[in-house]
Symmetry: C2
Amino acid sequence: MGASERARRVAIVGAGFAGVEAAKTLAKNGVDVLLIDRHNYHTFIPMLYQVATAVLYPHQVVYPLRRLFRNFPQVRFVQTEVEKIDFERQIIHHKGVGINYDYLVIATGTQTSYFGVPGAQEYSLSMRTLPEAIALRNWIFSKFEEAAKTIDIEKRQRLLTFVIVGGGPTGVELAGALKELLDSTLRKDYLCLNPKQARVILLQSGEDLLTSYPQHLGKYAARFLRNCGVKVNFNSKVCKVTQEAVHLEDGNTLFTNTVIWTAGVLAATPIIRQSIETADREKVIVKPTLQISQYPNVYAVGDLSYVESQGQDFNGVAQEAIQQGRTAANNIVRELIGKSPQKFAYYNKGRLAIVGRHGGVGKIGKFTFTGFLAWWMWLYVHLFYLPGIRNRMGVLFNWLKCYFEGEGASRIAINNTTCNNKD
Amino acid sequence: MGASERARRVAIVGAGFAGVEAAKTLAKNGVDVLLIDRHNYHTFIPMLYQVATAVLYPHQVVYPLRRLFRNFPQVRFVQTEVEKIDFERQIIHHKGVGINYDYLVIATGTQTSYFGVPGAQEYSLSMRTLPEAIALRNWIFSKFEEAAKTIDIEKRQRLLTFVIVGGGPTGVELAGALKELLDSTLRKDYLCLNPKQARVILLQSGEDLLTSYPQHLGKYAARFLRNCGVKVNFNSKVCKVTQEAVHLEDGNTLFTNTVIWTAGVLAATPIIRQSIETADREKVIVKPTLQISQYPNVYAVGDLSYVESQGQDFNGVAQEAIQQGRTAANNIVRELIGKSPQKFAYYNKGRLAIVGRHGGVGKIGKFTFTGFLAWWMWLYVHLFYLPGIRNRMGVLFNWLKCYFEGEGASRIAINNTTCNNKD
């Protein structure tokens, strides 16, 4: 442990892909770690949209953190909301208590940006956490129930119109899955509703979907979604959201009770007492070693960090976060034994997105592909990376059930209206 | 369909055991039914405590109503909260809309009674619905997390003290399961906490547990729970609940952050425009045919009804509700073809309660039994009655996992703090 007399305290804030990988890497190197998160579970974010569309059950896409680290006694976990971090004094403040650290890894990911669009935050749904994905699932089924009991045709049309804002991977994946859910649910369980009345509308501000992929993959995704019956509207900029409509800059109005916002992303950096340099989308600028230049004992990794002069294009996929978490942890281990930290080198394993049944897009190295192969690879890769053998079995079962029977998870809306006051 | 010119409209309010059985019976006899419930799923209430103690997943103890009746096109479902029922005009009011009926079955079950104890409703948790059971699970794990991060010994003791009010079947079953949960979770996942500090205290106002069973079964349950480490306090009447304590009539105070109220039961009858006769616990008095005497086209069944001059002792077990639902439905069918309704005759299949691992109590006819046999029968019977083959498989898997590994479902606390405003 170097020349220091006492063990150095290492803290990690955020137990997403980057934070968990950093904690594991440190623990494997025999370093004690304090891991902090606001939830007591790790969320497998790429599959949240399948909870929202009732393909999977909530517990299948998360993993309890204490169980994840049961065999890593070096990792101590604290569930709390961090209020403020003081880089000078090296203290993490939460609920009136301070936690001291010698090394810190910040890995708190991203939050939704509404670009200041009036009503967007208030009246649209988001899907960034498990509670939000569950709330979205409950919301969707409530709209079906409301539609089933209204005789007002316009109101029913509004209840059965689902608008997704943002044509990135999340928006595209959700649009395809939601359309499948509408088709199968309405056909089987709502004989009083006309499935043709149910619409999924995907709004994209630019002229292409999936702009982080080569253009022809975005074109493929748009074609695929349209074939499935999703309405894909390009050059559609939202200027206002209300409880019953989305207003577009071109003057059009879409009447809907459900707006799902997947468009904007901002770094979700905790409040820092000192001012630090940030880049586009408020990302924290870090050196190629992932250290913050003014505070070299602080590492920022994953979606909230912007790696300087890397010359590489990061898109917020899980692999980037995992590899950055590992690099930061290894750098701390190096520092502890008196070595200097190394630069982060991203090994690009490629990327995949799913568009619908038998439809996906992928890019591995210079090779791009679409259709069945990409779809199948997405399923395979995500199943492989999902933590927990039981979760994997359960997810596989639900996918097969969904594939052959058209329904994966139970279509239940657990609303909180009857909850007691304490919750 | 008798002499009437148009089809008679039959409505059922409440999709618990009684309501679902009534709907199925009517449908099988070719009668169209409107089924109303505030949730879009049927809850298998006897297993809710296993959701609260993370043995089972929420979806495993409920069944979507539309799926339950997918093969019964005679059953139309409406998810809504009934505001008021007018027995004279034969109208069910909900959200400003009126639903007319010719025959009505009320099966809305029970609600918690706090006997006017100050603070009880405000500061104690209940476990009567799925959202409440989930909230209780989240609450329990949050207390573990809070205890893990406090260094104040008294506060930690308070956080790890769980008080259950009421020594009926729910209280007894919950006490045993909660103690098992505490033991296994703290031993495995909270190495910083002393498992001996965690306490489950069961408060019973009288001198016996399970008063609806023969006395020696209650004695057995108390002995069994005490052997497991549950503190069972008799003659303990709660006179006040606060955020941090339970005050007893004998002057004692138990410091705790968690009070689970299983003690009181009241009929959860919807608001009726007319005044009707009620018995003890506000139960609706019905004739032996289950009809309300002033309004013979209205049937009240299940836990909310009090059958006059029956000479039998009803205890709110599922079988009573199921058989009453069936009788009410058959009586409506009889009326529709011009026959007169028949008296309800309860076929007592016996009753079972589980106390803990390998421990249960049972009574079938005059025969009573305890221990392994009762425990095993409880599991068998409840698995048998659970709707849905997949739920059964999943529940069996979780039980086996819990039995051999000491943990069934994921120990996750899904709090709503990060939920968006729309929820």
